[in-house]
Symmetry: C2
Subunit: 369 residues, 2 copies
DNA sequence: CTGAAAGCGCTAACAA
DNA sequence: TTGTTAGCGCTTTCAG
């Protein structure tokens, strides 16, 4: 027997790797690699041979090996609050589309508002070595964001509190949206407006909450503290809180909810109590999820463009990944909001119609039955 | 200058890899590897040192390297139809939970019923070298499934047509669910029942369609072909088709929809036409998505447990991954369905109440207003 | 039971 | 421009 110090790792199955392609195309593996990565310096004739071989062999580059050696996984992480809240699937869809178009894979995780799960989300991002993370949640524990930025992972998040230097913030223009909603109700004649917030320990909930308070002040409407209710962004929460609100002696005539799911729960409670919408009670949502339009009556709501949000997040992330710490892009981006008037808002009953004509309604969406 | 044939790859940053851990714990890298992988033969004292070092250094193993050398990515692929149909997020949530609990990451992609996107889904799965794929969609192009099984990727899918030998099929018990729905309506006194199917080129839609037809036959109810409508699983589709149905001279008194989104669209059309539910028209959905309960009135529907589906899929996949072609698990699994009676179904108007007492209603969920 | 060393498939120096 | 080759960080023989 000749020389055979040690049996090399058995490799029976005829490997299908870059070498096979190189052999088939009669070039070196480096050339194959360059061709695949569209390095311009490759001779067109050679490139053609390589592509032909790839085609014939049905070769797919090994992403793991690529990631290992290049240090870039080509995965973008996306952390959301709760995938079962319809707003997030819509966001995810947009995010995926943008990311895939740019050649990235997506790792989606959800926090479910649970600190333990948040930690798990971050851990999974780090383990899989994502190239960047978008944290598009209603709030997250700050230390976790730090963990991410300590790992030097590019970060984008929605208006979380203190601005981390390495991260870009996406600011939703709650102020404007809430203002439009309140204004809309006020113009209709509502003076007794309730607000159903999200959990107030979350910064984004606070933003909406204070936006509401400020609007009321600005308009000069008295605010009954009993009408400032803290919800939890869920259907159940909205329903339960509204049921409680309906027990009050002094009832508001309208309610603005800080997301559509609560608003739908609220509608359920109102209708369940035998009241009519909008005749007895007006309801305004926030998000404009797709199903909002299919409620009965269709939900008037404040649209926050998840397309803008997703596109913004991906764009920022990608530009961070390209810029080798050169031209730092803006470290904040504003996401606009827009009032979509449908049919859950109307003139409060027992109102003398001496108010402004409802000219602003015609501007927005309004379905004719 | 001593010997330096070629500048080795520059490595300024003090690497944080298995070697660092090994050095810190004063063991070999092999021992660190074994410790991490919980190989029982490691000396407990050593293992303890290793874990301590890992802790101190905040070491996270490199998943890519692991995958590269072991050939297992520890990623499970999940292909769904459309992430914006609420049924899928619920499914995804369950799937994720199961998979993560077993130490797998998830790669989610959605087909949007578009052949091009389906192909992209499959390509992405192959590129990322997922260890297994669950195709939980309403139909997919057969060649794509073949592509997956050609790559020897373990596969699970919902009742698609020809049984691929390498794949496991999850069969939803549509027959039973539809039967319960029709039976429920019949017991209430409905004899003119419409059916809103999914796109009939999809096998799963056909299953539900034929189940409906069979039930009607079995019960002995005449079936007006004009009441057999083909929808597309969407809110818009449901609404539009229902609007058309309402133009008919001969109207049914109830409609069974093959998913909840269509049913909600249908409800919208009915209520929009000024009719009442269930007084003028009864509606039954399919899926029991979370929001179904919060419609007004709450939607009577046929529940298909997405928990069972997800759990089944993950379990099958994982067992396939363990069994090195030994004990092949069952190649089919049945997912049960269950009628959930809420408030969109009632006695058709103008019906003489000479029917069976509605004893079956009390068994199921029913909210008291 | 532990350690040394051979690669996994690829990219990126560097040499030609 | 193309080819040669040294690793990326890890698992896994195989020898001790």
């Amino acid at each position: 027997m000749a020389e055979k110090k040690r049996k090399p790792r058995t490799k029976k199955p005829p490997r299908m790797d870059i070498r096979t392609v190189a052999a088939q195309a009669k070039v070196s593996i480096a050339t194959v690699s360059r061709t695949i990565n569209h390095i311009p310096s490759v001779d067109p004739a050679m490139a053609k041979r390589v592509w032909k071989a790839i085609e014939e062999l049905n070769y797919v580059p090994n992403t793991q090996a690529r990631a290992l050696v290049s240090g870039r996984s080509h995965i973008l992480g996306l952390i959301v609050s709760e995938i079962t809240n319809p707003f997030f699937p819509e966001l995810i869809q947009q995010f995926e589309e943008c990311a895939v178009a740019r050649g990235y894979e997506i790792l989606i995780t959800s926090t479910s508002y649970d600190p333990k799960r948040m930690a798990s989300c971050v851990r999974r991002m780090v383990e899989r070595k994502v190239d960047g993370v978008a944290v598009l949640t209603f709030g997250i524990e700050e230390p976790l964001l730090e963990q991410l930025s300590n790992q030097k992972i590019p970060l984008v998040y929605v208006d979380s509190r203190p601005h981390q230097p390495a991260a870009v913030t996406l600011n939703v223009d709650y102020q404007h949206g809430i203002w439009q909603g309140v204004q809309h109700l006020a113009v209709l004649g509502h003076r007794k407006i309730a607000f159903l917030s999200g959990p107030l320990h979350l910064y984004t909930s606070q933003l909406r909450y204070f936006a509401f308070i400020d609007c009321l002040k600005e308009i000069g409407i008295q605010c009954n503290p009993a009408w400032l209710i803290q919800g939890d962004h869920t259907l159940e929460g909205g329903m339960r809180k509204m049921e409680q609100l309906l027990q009050l002696d002094d009832q508001p005539t309208a309610i603005l909810c800080s997301n559509d799911m609560s608003a739908i729960g609220v509608m359920h409670a109102i209708l369940g109590a035998g009241l009519r919408i909008p005749d007895d009670f007006s309801v305004v949502g926030f998000d404009d999820v797709h199903i909002a339009e299919f409620m009965f009556p269709p939900l008037t709501t404040i649209r926050m463009s998840c397309r803008d949000l997703a596109l913004g997040a991906v764009t920022v992330l990608c530009s961070k990944l390209k810029n080798t710490e050169s031209a730092t892009p803006a470290n904040a981006l504003t996401i606009p909001t827009e009032l979509i008037v449908r049919r859950t808002t109307g003139i409060p009953k027992d109102t003398i119609q001496n108010l402004k004509p409802l000219s602003d309604r015609s501007k927005s969406e309004r379905k004719v039955p």
